[in-house]
């Protein structure tokens, strides 16, 4: 380590310093170590994953090429074999529930997991490949030689670490990417707050209530449960606990006068949710900020001697029917690691020399999905999706299935029209939003 103010860039401590041992950072470090580069993986928590929480499902396909047969060893809670989407109002709920037992067999689809377990497991993979994992150490700033990033400053005594490339996987707040000038000023409208309760319940009770067996589990995504604040809710099964939580738009939450745990208490008391969580004890409460706006809020991903990946690069995909993040973190982190390894080998870690990172992201799902779904976060947070859609959908169901004998049955078209009118939705607006949705998801 260097004590001087101008670090010796000719002989850096490591080829690459990766800041943050979450899924992005560990994937980057794993790729670098495998490519034979010296890599330091810095983590500010006492262990990888100790600062991390999420809204529930890890989609593992991205791991297939990194860790063959990862499912035989990854510390997962349950494999998701039931994926439900619930539209709710104060006392109604319409659920689309899909079950696939194929998802409960190798190679699986999605899993629930505790992030402290999962992230520590992935970091250990990087360590086993040769990365140097240093925990309980906060990166407090960048070391620079002119404009060029040449390492990080840490809060350890004599804690400067020099490197040819710094990969920022330091999460949604990414002070390092901001310090590097890769972000424009933050707009709170691009962010949401996630809050979650992990609720302990016996395994048999969960199996019965959610109609699953063995290590199969359920993920329910909920729309219409956040009052006037745009957002959504979720409920999913762990092995011996449930997780119930909310995602809330920051500016509206700040203005609404209701605290996050109050809105969460309302979801927990909803007639469709209360019986599922009844009798459970809160094992852990957690909160985290989410980069909600995806493609449109992404920073510059590459600078001179620096790359940004994972939540630090707003790689979280909040696209309504697809809610993913850990897989995008791993995908972007791995691409950053590969690009950095190549740049170090070619002795050009300038912005141009690291340009391979962008090409790799464009060539796989990470940027392709994000670009295609760039309008989705906004659509999901629109008044139509948030307020009108749940009410109209539940209202139509209520009218459709309420038997009104001796009155004859109303036609479906009449029911839909009356519900749209009741909720102030004009046909013109419904069509234009519908076309937008088709364009985005189609």
């Amino acid at each position: 380590m260097s004590n001087s103010d101008v670090p010796d860039v000719d002989v850096p401590d490591f080829d690459v310093v990766v800041v943050g041992a979450g899924p992005a950072g560990s994937a980057a470090a794993l790729e670098l170590a495998r490519a034979g580069r010296s890599v330091c993986l810095l983590e500010r928590g006492p262990y990888p994953g100790s600062k991390n929480m999420y809204g529930g499902v890890i989609y593992g396909r991205v791991l297939d090429s990194l860790i063959p047969n990862w499912w035989e060893e990854a510390p997962i809670q349950r494999w998701v074999t039931r994926r439900s989407t619930m539209l709710m109002t104060g006392n109604q709920a319409l659920t689309v529930d899909y079950r696939s037992n194929t998802w409960g067999e190798a190679p699986y689809n999605g899993a629930t997991a505790f992030r402290p377990d999962f992230d520590a497991w992935l970091a250990a993979k990087a360590e086993a490949a040769g990365a140097v994992l240093i925990c309980s150490t906060t990166a407090t700033g960048l070391l620079r030689d002119g404009q060029r990033v040449v390492g990080v400053r840490t809060d350890r005594p004599d804690g400067d670490l020099t490197a040819r490339v710094v990969i920022c996987c330091d999460g949604v707040n990414s002070f390092l990417a901001k310090e590097a000038g890769l972000y424009p000023p933050s707009d709170p409208a691009n962010y949401t707050l996630g809050v979650k309760e992990t609720i302990a319940l016996p395994r048999e009770v969960i199996d019965e209530r959610f109609a699953v067996r063995g290590n199969h589990g359920v993920d329910i995504e909920i729309l219409g449960c956040t009052g006037k604040v745009p957002g959504g809710g979720f409920l999913y099964t762990n092995a011996e606990s449930l997780a119930v939580g909310l995602v809330l738009s920051l500016p509206e939450l700040a203005k609404c006068g209701r605290r996050p745990e109050e809105i969460l208490a309302e979801l927990k008391s909803h007639p469709a949710i209360a019986p599922l969580i009844e009798g459970g004890e809160v094992k852990e409460y957690s909160a985290h900020m989410i980069p909600e706006a995806g493609y449109k809020m992404m920073p510059e991903l590459i600078g001179d001697g620096i790359l940004v990946a994972g939540d630090a690069a707003a790689m979280c995909l909040a696209a309504g029917i697809w809610l993913e993040g850990v897989n995008f973190a791993i995908g972007s982190g791995a691409a950053a690691g590969q690009a950095a390894a190549r740049a170090v080998q070619r002795r050009d870690t300038s912005t141009a020399g690291l340009g391979d990172y962008r090409r790799r992201l464009e060539a796989n799902f990470v940027m392709t999905d994000h670009r295609k779904l760039k309008d989705a976060p906004h659509l999901v947070m629109s008044d139509l999706a948030q307020q009108q859609l749940p009410r109209i959908a539940c209202g139509v169901m209520e009218q459709l299935f309420t038997v009104t004998n001796p009155e004859p049955k109303p036609g479906l078209r009449k029911i839909i029209r009356s519900q749209m009118k009741l909720n102030n939705l004009k046909l013109r607006d419904a069509i234009s939003q519908g076309v937008k949705a088709l364009r985005t998801y189609g």
Partner: protein, 99 residues
């Protein structure tokens, strides 16, 4: 919706489910003068750990100790730079286990 049906836990027991390895050093500082002029005070509503509390004299009392380190407070802060926020020193702050 009524919240009577579910025996909601108190905020104190909610927070006691979380491990915090509290640092001696505060990672949040608040400029009370700016807060006194602030009309929106989004931090009071939005902070999931309820760390910002209005005082009788129009200021804001805050506590850094039981912080989730989410960043919501500085993000919703309307007064330029009233909240200065960084990560706690390494190894300290919130430690999740079952999230």
């Amino acid at each position: 919706m009524s919240t009577d049906a579910y025996p909601e836990i108190s905020f104190e027991s909610r927070m006691s489910s979380v491990e915090f390895r509290v640092s001696e050093q505060a990672h949040i500082t608040v400029d009370g003068k700016k807060c006194a002029d602030c009309s929106t005070r989004g931090c009071i509503t939005a902070c999931p750990a309820n760390l910002f509390v209005p005082t009788a004299d129009g200021g804001i009392l805050f506590n850094y100790e039981l912080c989730f380190e989410c960043g919501t407070c500085y993000m919703v802060c309307n007064e330029e730079g009233a909240i200065t926020w960084s990560y706690p020193e390494g190894g300290h702050g919130v430690v999740f286990h079952s999230s």
